[in-house]
Each structure stands twice: as structure tokens, then as C-alpha cells.
């Protein structure tokens, strides 16, 4: 339960922060949630990771669907050297997930100090 709540909270907080702050605010969001909702390090990581993977890949997927994949085709070719919008969505999700996961671990470890 705690795991699900912290995952949802992370996704929500990161989205809201993203409205006002640069992209790296996801690290702050994941850190704060992990600090507030205590979990073991690996659980905190997973929770931040899953939250941002779902948030970023989901958001990217919605945008790309509305855009009919037009830009994702071009950017995937540019960055990944292959025309595959889904791969770009996956890489997007993993990028956010990694940052949030690490930030959440940091938050969970900070909690132990406090």
C-alpha cells in the first residue's frame, strides 16, 4: 500500500513541479516523497523509478498519439538512429525513471539520518 501511495505521490508531485520548474525538478519530487513516505532503499528506488517511467512515457505517448508520431519518428531517427517512436517513448520513460529512482534512494537514506 505504502509502495503504491508513494509511487502515485511521486508521479503527481513531479508533474506539478514540472509545471513551474525545469525538468530536473523530478529529482526534487522523488526525493521529497521518499523522505516523507519511508520505505527501504530498494523499494524507494523502485517506487521513484516506476512513478517517473509511467509519468514520462505515458505523457510522451499521449503527446505522440495526438501528433500521430510525426515528430517522434524524426527525433528517434536523430537520437537513436532508428525510426521508432515507441523506442523513443521507452528511452524517455527510462531517463526520467533513472533520475527519480536515484533521487528517491537519496531521499530514503536522508530519512535514516533524520
Amino acid at each position: 500500500m505504502k509502495f503504491i501511495i508513494s509511487t502515485i505521490l511521486t508521479a503527481l508531485l513531479c508533474f506539478v513541479l514540472g509545471l513551474y520548474l525545469p525538468w530536473w525538478s523530478i529529482a526534487i519530487g522523488a526525493f521529497i516523497v521518499a523522505l516523507a513516505v519511508h520505505q527501504a532503499g530498494w523499494k524507494a528506488f523502485l517506487s521513484g523509478f516506476i512513478a517517473l517511467f509511467l509519468l514520462w512515457s505515458g505523457h510522451a505517448w499521449l503527446i505522440s498519439e495526438a501528433n500521430e508520431g510525426l515528430l517522434a519518428k524524426k527525433i528517434s531517427l536523430l537520437i537513436l538512429n532508428i525510426e521508432n517512436p515507441f523506442l523513443l517513448i521507452l528511452v524517455t520513460g527510462l531517463t526520467g525513471a533513472l533520475v527519480a529512482g536515484l533521487a528517491a534512494v537519496t531521499g530514503s537514506l536522508a530519512r535514516k539520518i533524520v
Binding site: 508533474f15 525538468w23 530536473w24 509519468l55 495526438a66 524524426k74 527525433i75 537519496t106 537514506l109
Partner: protein
């Protein structure tokens, strides 16, 4: 302790990862910043059903402005006064084309290394230096001063800049055009100088081309007789833009003394003088094919009895396109056509009374003078028997990832000393070459477009084009009331024959331009008896015009347009659109009798096959035409076989003869002296060269046949590249379109019809047009390249010219309301 350590380790790892994904230090791109769906490139992915309805308010506006946007994303702006109109024009240009506007002005100002770095072998930095040293920024500053003298122009340009800045001011990081995100920089505020830079870039593109340094090399290499044979400019099949007729005669004598200087024979026309050469000719030059077609037929030749005007400017094909379609309306006027993002006004188009268009005059208004400096400080130069002080201008070139480069340029009364000891024209000799360029002179050329947008009749047109000084243009005109006109307009130097084709003496005034040709002596034609006017960058006049008009002009497009218009009657707009797409190759027609002299017995097996392909070809550079490919490669090889031995006498760069030179020379004389290969002992004949060159071309043709196939459009492979070229997914390539160099549809590989327009001057104005691009500059928008396929298919769109007072139309999809507030 361990807790603290693991916390610190995790915190460091997080910060390290964020840094990695936020910068370009570790990965080539800041992946986090770019891929964040709320900030990065995803935000540029415009929904396919994007609405462009908007309500905006700006304190700069005095009255409401409505913008009706049609299904092709063309904005129809209706304002109550001009400052409001140009404010909104600036806003909309920025909304749809901001990155391109700024990039092009950076290119004009020599500031590309600032965003892209110095480039491989300093290519980009050298480009920037060439633009700075040519005095592009200096020229733009001169024209800003001139604009500031006219309160109307000043308020127009200021309103436009305010509109651009109103957009930039409210732009968020997530809305930044994608190129800024990918390259990692931000837009600057717009200014009058930026608009002036953009217009100067057009001067550079259209009146910045010359081959004077290369011709200087050719003078050193060839005898005068050979030189005149290789580089004659009055082609036999030339149909000048304005013929000399009894009813419309040229001036009989020049308005000033145009005797060449006394020492010209010994000094200037010193052929085969091996010492006077330059090893480093300019690397960056405007595309030599920059040109256009335009024509207007009067009511006497049309089915409706009303004039029809057509114009298709041939420029580099890019995405985002150079052009942006708009309709601009106030209570005073309503103009429609293509605009330049970066400048107010409609540039090529029509209003409720008249239509107007341009082709390039191509006159040489850029010459070089050899300067003698007193010493290495380059602060004093010898002129008319005394040392004169040179001004110095320090160009600060910012280079991404490097120190700024300070480049000092001396300015003489000729102009900037572009080439000196730090920017060398020649590897051996230290040469100081000043550029005299008409574009440096103060002028307010943009005013010509403003006045044309407002023009109601022939007299207004005549007055409007007076503002055009450089680049010189063939300004075409047609009115509802039945007038047609064409003027080669510009302020052109009055030159003696071949003045400025070579580097000139700069130690005194003897080789300076003696003055400008009086504007009323510019070639013009108003309502001619033949009932049409036309131009296609050919020489405006024949040899009886009393001023030298320069060299290097194409002739075949002009020849074909006149040949076809001469015989046409009862013309419809449909036929004019077809004429724009005409792909008949007149040069091939003229070349065929020569090529048919080939003895098939001297051809190898595959060459014989290609010979038959050529023989059965109908001279059309059409989609699927294999004969066109054979002709192109065969003719190029024949030119090399004829001339390469003479050109290989030196390593110096020299101009290749014009497109008509070989075909006309061989028609005149099959024993053309250049046929003999000077590096062999035997005497070659034309027949030897014909067979030899087709045999040689066959090897290349065999390879092409085995890869892409011989179909003309496959070999030509027309493409429309993104301005940065290197972001290949933003390019459109392999477009199936015919045409090419030297035919009316001048669509070459990356250059061609940048806008096709046909205007029928009926009561409501029946207008057609298309350009190879799309209204949006955003590669993530469906409007980025939405016209490209129709353009390649040779189509034109029927343009929606909204009538005054209408606020809706079935084609209007969205509305933007601008208000004071």
C-alpha cells in the same frame, strides 16, 4: 557514519546523473532536458488537430486586430491601422518561424560559429569572417540609418519588431522552437538591425555574386582572343528582357564619359600576364543559379481580356521555407502574397488593383580594387598621390567553445579591404583587395515593397520601384485596368566594357565607377505591342545599350518563355501554370544536330544504347525521361573534353564558360579551336570528341543505371533540406519532380521554384500559388512540409483572397483576436 556516507554517495550519484542529462559535457545531447515531456522536444509535437484559435491582448495595439487562418494555415490579418497591422505581422512571423528568422539574420551577420562552433577545418568560422569582412553588418547599419530618416518606415519597422518581441517575451522554455532546444541557445530580442540584416542577406544572395577573382585568373591564363571566345556574353540566341525597338529605344549614348582609363590596354587588359593571379577565390558564394522567371500577358492575349501575371523565383530550397504566405488588410489596402519572415510587407503578390513580382537583374555591382597600404598597420593607403587614412572596424566573432576572434577590417573610400595579410587572397603574394559593393550604399529598399502593397495603378508602380536600389530586379506589373509593365530597376554603376570583371587598380580614381546610370535610362517596357513582358535573368539588353551590363547570364529560360508566349493566344491561367512547369530543354534541341554527327561505329556497345536513348528523346526533362540523363552526362563530358586541357594548364580557379558557349561555338564553327587537345600530338576532330565523350559518359551512365536507374528525377534527386542540413530527419529528399537547369521549370537538386504564382487580374482577382514547404517552421507540425508533395506534383493552390468586410469563409478554420490591453 555509514549512513552519512551512503546518503552522500546517493546524493552525489543523483546530482551527477542530473548534470549528465542536463548538459553536453558527458553525452552529446542533454537527454533529460530534451526528453522531458513537459519541457523538451515532446512539447514541439503539435497535435494533428491543433486549434489555432487565440485571444491575445497587448498594450502596443490601439485597435482590435482579427486574424482569419485558413485550412493551409495562411493568416489573413485585418487591422484598423498600419502600426497594428505590422505588429501582428511580426507576431505571426515569430509565432510560426522564429528560429529561422533569427538563424538567417545570424547568417547574414556572420554569427553562425556563435551557435554551431567553428566547424570542420574552420569552415563555419571562415564563412562568418567572409560575411563580416564583406561588410554585411556595416551595410545593414547603413540601411538602418536610412530607414530612421523616414518616419513612416521607422514606425513600420518598429511596429514589426515590437510584434516579434511581444511573441519572444511570452515564450516559455517548453514553447521554444525545437532547433533552440537541440542546439542549446535562446532567441535574442528583434531589432531594426535584424530586419536590415535580413534584407541585406537578400542583397548578398541576389547581388553578391561575381567571379571577378576567377576572371582575373583567366585573364592571366588565356590570350585575349581565347578569353573572348570562352567568355563572350552576347549569346546568339539571346532574347534580351527589353529589346531595342523603334517605339521603345535604348538611350543612344552614355550619360557620362565611359572611355576606359588611358592605361587600360597595358595594365587592365594585360592578358597572359602570369603574375597577376589569386590562389584563394571566395569559398562562400551565393548559388549561381539564383534567378527566376516572370511574365505578364496583356488582355489582348488572354481568353478573358484581362492581364495575367506569373512569377516563380528560383532560390535555394529549404525548410522552413524562405517564404510565408499572408494577406494584410487595413482600411487603406489589402495585399496578399508571400512575405519574408524577418521583414514587414508582402514581397511578391497582389492587391485589389495590381499584381507584382520580381526576377533578379544579376548585374555585377560588386568589384575589387587593389589597395596599397603605407605599412603593416593598414591605417593609411595611397590614393591620388597622397596617403589617406583608413577607418578600422573591429569585428568581434564569438565562437562556441572557443575564445572570441577579433577581426580588424580597414575601410577605404572604395569599401572594406576584405582580403589582406590576415585573410589572404593569395598564398604567395600579399594582396589587399577592397570591395566596392552597391549594397554598402545607404538605401531604404524595403520601402519599395511597402509602396507596391499600396499601389493602385501604373503610376504608383513606377513610383514604388524607385526605392529599389540593390539588389537590382526585373520588376513586373499587371493591373486590373489592363496595364502590363517590366522594368529592370536598381541603381547600377555606369561601366565601360569589362570594367570590374577583373581586379582593378585602387591607387587612384581612374578605375572607380564614374557614376550611376540615370534611373530613367534603366531598361523598361510598358504595354508593348507584342502584348507581353517577360524576364528570366537573361541579359536585360543587347550590345546596343550604351553601358556595360556585366557577364554570366543564363539565356535558355528566357528564350523558351518568349518563344512560347509569342505563339500563344486566348491564354487562360491554367496555361500559365502549365508554362511554369514547362520542362523543354532548348539547349538540347540546339545541341542535337551537333551530337548527331557522332559516328556510331566509334561507340562501344553501351554507348550505342545511350546514343539511341538520346536520339529518341523529346527534349523534355520530365519525370521518367532517360534521354535527359544521357544528354546531361554526355554534354558535361563533351565540355570537359573540349576545354579541360586548356583549363588544366593552371591550378588556379577559373570560371567555367556559360551554358550556351559550347553549343553556340560548335554551331558557328565545327572546327572550333578548343576541340584540339593541346596535351596530345595528334589533331582531334569534333567527331573524335563526340564519340570519346559518350564512351566516357557511358561508364558513369552504366553505374547510375545499375543503382538509381536513369530516370531523370531519380538522378537529379530534388530535395528540400532543413536550413541546418545536418539534421537529416528534418529534410525532405528524393522528390519526384522534373525540370532542371536551363529549362523554365528550373528545379535542380536543391534549388528551384521557391514560389510559383499566377495572378489573373479579374474583378475578384483569381490567384494561384504554392511553395515547397509549409506555413509552420516546426518540424513537429503537420504544416511543416504540407505543400511539398503537391509542389513536387506540379500543382498550384487557388489562393483565398478574403474580401474586405468578410469575417468567415468555408476555408477559414481558426481565428486569432488581438486586442489592446
Amino acid at each position: 557514519m555509514r549512513r552519512y556516507l551512503s546518503f552522500a554517495a546517493a546524493a552525489l550519484a543523483t546530482i551527477g546523473l542530473v548534470y549528465t542529462l542536463d548538459s553536453r559535457q558527458v553525452l552529446p545531447a542533454p537527454l533529460g532536458k530534451l526528453l522531458s515531456p513537459q519541457h523538451g522536444i515532446w512539447q514541439n509535437a503539435e497535435p494533428a488537430n491543433q486549434s489555432f484559435n487565440l485571444n491575445l491582448s497587448f498594450p502596443q495595439l490601439s485597435e482590435p486586430v482579427s486574424v482569419y487562418i485558413d485550412e493551409r494555415l495562411v493568416p489573413h490579418v485585418v487591422a484598423q491601422n498600419e502600426p497594428d497591422l505590422y505588429f501582428v505581422q511580426g507576431y505571426l512571423h515569430a509565432r510560426f518561424r522564429l528560429w529561422q528568422m533569427e538563424f538567417q539574420t545570424h547568417a547574414a551577420a556572420g554569427r553562425i560559429s556563435e551557435i554551431l562552433g567553428p566547424g570542420p577545418d574552420n569552415r563555419i568560422l571562415n564563412y562568418d569572417r567572409s560575411m563580416r569582412r564583406l561588410g554585411m553588418v556595416y551595410a545593414a547599419e547603413q540601411s538602418v540609418k536610412e530607414v530612421e530618416k523616414s518616419s513612416e518606415s521607422l514606425s513600420q519597422y518598429q511596429a514589426y519588431a515590437d510584434g516579434v518581441n511581444a511573441y519572444i517575451d511570452q515564450l516559455t522554455i517548453s514553447e521554444l522552437p525545437i532547433e533552440y532546444k537541440l542546439l542549446g541557445y535562446f532567441p535574442e530580442k528583434w531589432s531594426l538591425l535584424k530586419t536590415a540584416l535580413f534584407l541585406k542577406y537578400m542583397s548578398y544572395d541576389l547581388a553578391g555574386a561575381e567571379s571577378d577573382l576567377e576572371f582575373t585568373n583567366a585573364r592571366a591564363t588565356f590570350s585575349q582572343m581565347d578569353y573572348e571566345q570562352l567568355y563572350y556574353f552576347l549569346a546568339d540566341s539571346l532574347k534580351p528582357v527589353i529589346p531595342n525597338t523603334v517605339l521603345n529605344p535604348y538611350p543612344t549614348a552614355p550619360a557620362m564619359n565611359l572611355e576606359p582609363p588611358a592605361d587600360a590596354d597595358s595594365l587592365y587588359f594585360s592578358f597572359m600576364n602570369a603574375g597577376d593571379t589569386v590562389s584563394n577565390v571566395p569559398e562562400n558564394k551565393p548559388n549561381p543559379e539564383n534567378g527566376s522567371n516572370n511574365w505578364a500577358v496583356s488582355g489582348a492575349k488572354t481568353a478573358s481580356g484581362r492581364p495575367i501575371l506569373a512569377n516563380d523565383p528560383h532560390l535555394s530550397l529549404n525548410l522552413p521555407a524562405l517564404w510565408f504566405e499572408m494577406q494584410l488588410t487595413t482600411p487603406e489596402f489589402s495585399a496578399y502574397g508571400v512575405t519574408f519572415p524577418g521583414s514587414p510587407n508582402v514581397i511578391i503578390g497582389f492587391n485589389e488593383h495590381i499584381s507584382f513580382g520580381f526576377t533578379n537583374a544579376g548585374r555585377d555591382v560588386k568589384d575589387y580594387y587593389e589597395i596599397k597600404f603605407k605599412d603593416g598597420t593598414k591605417s593609411e593607403y595611397w590614393f591620388n598621390g597622397e596617403w589617406k587614412k583608413a577607418d578600422k572596424r573591429v569585428e568581434i566573432i564569438r565562437v562556441k567553445g572557443q575564445q572570441d576572434l577579433l577581426d580588424t577590417v580597414s575601410y577605404t573610400l572604395f569599401g572594406p579591404v576584405m582580403y589582406d595579410d590576415t585573410y589572404r587572397a593569395d598564398d604567395q603574394a600579399e594582396r589587399y583587395l577592397a570591395v566596392r559593393w552597391k549594397a554598402h550604399d545607404p538605401s531604404n529598399d524595403g520601402r519599395a515593397f511597402y509602396e507596391l502593397n499600396h499601389a493602385k495603378n501604373l503610376e504608383d508602380y513606377k513610383a514604388a520601384i524607385q526605392y529599389l536600389t540593390c539588389p537590382g530586379q526585373n520588376c513586373i506589373f499587371a493591373s486590373k485596368t489592363g496595364d502590363i509593365a517590366l522594368t529592370q530597376q536598381g541603381v547600377f554603376p555606369a561601366k565601360w566594357r569589362r570594367q570590374g570583371d577583373f581586379i582593378m587598380k585602387g591607387t587612384d580614381s581612374s578605375y572607380m565607377w564614374r557614376g550611376m546610370i540615370p534611373v530613367e535610362e534603366n531598361p523598361r517596357m510598358i504595354n508593348p505591342e507584342r502584348s507581353y513582358v517577360s524576364s528570366a535573368n537573361q541579359l536585360a539588353v543587347d550590345g546596343s545599350y550604351p553601358y556595360y551590363t556585366g557577364t554570366e547570364f543564363p539565356i535558355y529560360r528566357g528564350y523558351m518563355i518568349n518563344r512560347l508566349l509569342d505563339s500563344m493566344q486566348g491564354i487562360t491561367p491554367q496555361q500559365m501554370m502549365e508554362l511554369q512547369m514547362n520542362d523543354y530543354d532548348a539547349k538540347a534541341e540546339f545541341a542535337k544536330p551537333i551530337l548527331m554527327r557522332t559516328n556510331p561505329a566509334s561507340l562501344n556497345e553501351s554507348a550505342r544504347k545511350y546514343f539511341d536513348l538520346f536520339r529518341n528523346w523529346d527534349f523534355r526533362k520530365a519525370v521518367g525521361a532517360e534521354g535527359a540523363t544521357v544528354f546531361e552526362f554526355w554534354w558535361q563530358q563533351l565540355q570537359r573534353s573540349v576545354w579541360m586541357d586548356e583549363f588544366e594548364q593552371t591550378d588556379l580557379m577559373m570560371p567555367w564558360p556559360s551554358e550556351f558557349t559550347l553549343v553556340e561555338s560548335l554551331k558557328r564553327d565545327t572546327a572550333y579551336s578548343f576541340i584540339d587537345n593541346i596535351s596530345t600530338s595528334q589533331k582531334e576532330s569534333l567527331e573524335d570528341l563526340l564519340a570519346q565523350s559518350l564512351n566516357l559518359a557511358s561508364d558513369t551512365l552504366d553505374k547510375i543505371a545499375a543503382t538509381t536507374g536513369l530516370a531523370w528525377e531519380k538522378v537529379k534527386a530534388t530535395r528540400v533540406n532543413h536550413l541546418l542540413k545536418v539534421i537529416t530527419p528534418f529534410n525532405r529528399t528524393n522528390l519526384p519532380i522534373g525540370g532542371g537547369k536551363g529549362v523554365i521549370n528550373a528545379t535542380a537538386a536543391d534549388h528551384g521554384q521557391s514560389w510559383r504564382m499566377v495572378i489573373h487580374m479579374t474583378d475578384d482577382i483569381e490567384a494561384y500559388g504554392i511553395y515547397p514547404g509549409g506555413q509552420s517552421g516546426n518540424p513537429g507540425s503537420r504544416f511543416y512540409d504540407s505543400f511539398v508533395d503537391d509542389w513536387a506534383a506540379g500543382k498550384h493552390y487557388r489562393l483565398l483572397f478574403m474580401k474586405r468586410g468578410t469575417t468567415s469563409d468555408p476555408q477559414i478554420k481558426w481565428t486569432m483576436e488581438f486586442r489592446k490591453g
